[in-house]
């Protein structure tokens, strides 16, 4: 417990000393004046190196420089106040409320600790939230998957990830990924990045990862493309195909909301004709079959024949 406090004290004292100084201060000055650097020169050096890393991991950037550019002086250190302080600039009550609500959404989820620390900082600004705004909104990101937190940490530190991904046959496949972005779609979380084995950008659904995502190697190991567009990753997975289907009155609600109803139609009474777009052939067949005798596929013919074949097999298997 005592050593915990000593280390904590030393980190805070080092931060204060580096933040208060207007000039660079040298390592020997730090060891002489900042409380907590004890022992041999070598152990002080080690302590200092570790402390610098720890502060950097907290997002506190220590600047390295020399006193006088004309002379090869001993290296000095300082923290520039503008690199230490809240970086979103001036914020008003409405903005504080929105930022707080956004962080609140994570309460109790896998990123709860980061959310709490963000809220502490936002509240420390000392501007009262606009309480009227809080009444009718309850945004929530309900995610208990620790892998989302690891993914975000890998993206922000630009660290390589390795993991085991279950394919359609539920066989685990090793993947190595430069993670670029996370996104939620259709109620699932996805991680998007450069798959090093496939040498292409790929999307992975986080709940299909078997076990934990693992950070590999050093941070800042790659660059995230500046023109990144995660949404396009969903659209270009494969080209779209088209189908014409008939829906029984009032049925196939999800298909109706996705498709477009044809104006001129050969549909018999009690049925409507819809044009549909689909990407995954097999998934689309399964979706059509889900609706049983409330949905009929008209075109393309090969799709219709495939469905007919499956139904015949069904009659034989179960009849």
């Amino acid at each position: 417990m005592h050593t915990v406090s000593r280390k904590t004290e030393r980190l805070v004292n080092l931060t204060i000393a580096l933040l208060a100084t207007k000039r660079y201060i040298t390592k020997s000055e730090i060891f002489r004046t900042v409380d907590g650097y004890e022992g041999s020169d070598e152990s002080k050096e080690r302590m200092f190196e570790r402390d610098k890393d720890d502060l950097r991991n907290l997002g506190i950037e220590i600047e390295v420089g020399t006193f006088d550019p004309l002379f090869e002086d001993e290296t000095g250190y300082r923290i520039k106040p503008e690199n230490y302080q809240f970086q979103l600039g001036e914020v008003n009550a409405q903005e504080i409320t929105l930022l707080s609500l956004a962080a609140e959404a994570w309460r109790g989820a896998s990123m709860g600790q980061s959310a709490l620390s963000a809220l502490n900082k936002l509240h420390a600004i000392g501007i009262e939230s606009d309480s009227e705004l809080l009444l009718d909104l309850a945004p929530a990101i309900i995610n208990q998957d620790e892998n989302l937190a690891i993914a975000i940490s890998a993206i922000t530190s630009k660290t390589l990830l390795s993991f085991s991904y279950l394919n359609e046959e539920l066989q685990p496949q090793s993947r190595a990924l430069e993670p670029f972005a996370v996104t939620s779609r259709y109620g699932h979380w996805y991680i998007f990045g450069n798959d090093l084995d496939r040498k292409a950008n790929r999307l992975f659904r986080l709940d299909r990862v078997s076990g934990d995502l693992k950070l590999q190697g050093k941070s800042s190991a790659f660059e995230i493309p500046s023109d990144l567009d995660v949404n396009s990753a969903f659209a270009t997975a494969s080209g779209a195909s088209h189908a014409i289907i008939f829906l029984r009155d009032g049925r196939g609600l999800n298909l109706r909301s996705r498709g477009s109803q044809s104006a001129a139609t050969s549909a018999p009474a009690g049925w409507q004709e819809f044009k549909m777009e689909f990407r995954d052939h097999e998934r689309f067949i399964e979706e059509i079959l889900w609706y049983g005798n409330d949905v009929i596929v008209s075109e393309p013919a090969d799709l219709r024949i495939e469905i007919l074949n499956r139904l015949r097999v069904g009659v034989v298997t179960y009849g």
């Binding site: 929105l98 309850a138 196939g252 009929i296």
Partner: protein, 310 residues
């Protein structure tokens, strides 16, 4: 309250955040401050005692941070250097970015001022972290807010609910019990007055949610899993397992996988069985097999009697 003992670095980070917070909330009660930082009062006291030992080099009373908290209220002096609110880490910025996305989608579209404020904040954050996170929420946050309010004040709700099993939208009066998670999806466990039984409603399938009258007491639900089917998954193991909401793990062999699935709805099981005709065989009960045969036959007849162009 805090679940695990903080590491020295986590504690240092918290001390750096405590200083500006106390500075803008001079005289705050210990209990209130502990709650803000999700600490017990004794953990907070340990933090404040450590902070008290920190200051500028020299470490005489002139340089040390001056804290007063014996009265039960906390105030701070001589801490100007740390008074700035610390920057948000990239991790924190990313979660805020995702939170803003969720928020944007549930705002009243008429509140253009709020939409503009969110866009402005999003732009500022993306300048720092890049376009690395987006979220498309499937649940309307205003629905969640009304449900939370109804549970807290013991009110019934009128919901327009899209039942994917019935393939229909219907209005129901329900008594909400609790919000929970079902395989990652947000659900409301409730007593359905219309169906006179306990039901689970997925939040994303609610088309509208309104407060109704005060609710009557309902007892805890019994196990809703009335139907149990035994399946043999022969291919498309991941998709088929996901369809039947059966949890899966890595497979060693290439043989078929025998699983037992439960549902309160026989219709849901039947729809899934027809959907996965090519990859799953339902083995038991025998009555289920006849149901599937019948559904296949009906659908097949429909196709055979349909007049297709060309």
């Amino acid at each position: 309250m805090a679940k695990t003992q903080s590491t020295p670095v986590e504690k240092a980070a918290r001390l750096l955040d405590l200083v500006p917070f106390i500075s803008t909330h001079q005289g705050i009660a210990l209990s209130e401050l502990a709650e803000e930082f999700n600490l017990s009062v004794s953990e907070l006291l340990s933090d404040l005692n450590t902070l008290w030992m920190c200051g500028l080099p020299g470490y005489t009373p002139l340089e040390l941070i001056d804290l007063e908290f014996e009265s039960g209220y906390v105030s701070i002096r001589n801490a100007e250097v740390l008074q700035r609110v610390r920057l948000l880490t990239k991790q924190e910025l990313v979660i805020i970015l995702l939170g803003l996305d969720i928020l944007r989608s549930s705002l009243d579209p008429k509140r253009e001022d709020l939409q503009a404020a969110i866009s402005g904040l999003t732009r500022r954050i993306k300048e720092i972290v890049g376009n690395v996170a987006t979220a498309s929420p499937i649940v309307d946050s205003t629905h969640r807010a009304i449900i939370t309010q109804a549970i807290a004040s013991r009110m019934d709700l009128t919901v327009k609910y899209h039942s994917t099993i019935r393939d229909a939208v219907a209005e129901r009066v329900i008594t909400p019990l609790e919000l929970s998670l079902d395989l990652g999806f947000e659900v409301l466990n409730a007593y359905c007055q219309s169906a006179e039984g306990f039901r689970t409603f997925r939040l994303e399938n609610m088309r509208s949610v309104e407060l109704a009258g005060s609710s009557v007491n309902v007892s805890e639900p019994s196990d809703p899993s009335d139907y149990q089917w035994q399946l043999l998954i022969k291919s498309r193991f991941r998709t088929s397992s996901e369809r039947f909401r059966s949890t899966y793990k890595p497979r060693e062999s290439s043989a078929g996988e025998q699983v037992t699935v439960n549902s309160f709805s026989q219709d849901w099981l039947l729809r899934n069985a027809v959907s996965t005709l090519a990859s799953v065989e339902v083995q038991l009960p025998v009555s289920a097999r006849s149901l599937i045969a019948e559904k296949c036959q009906q659908t097949l007849e429909l196709y055979e009697n349909w007049v297709f162009p060309n």
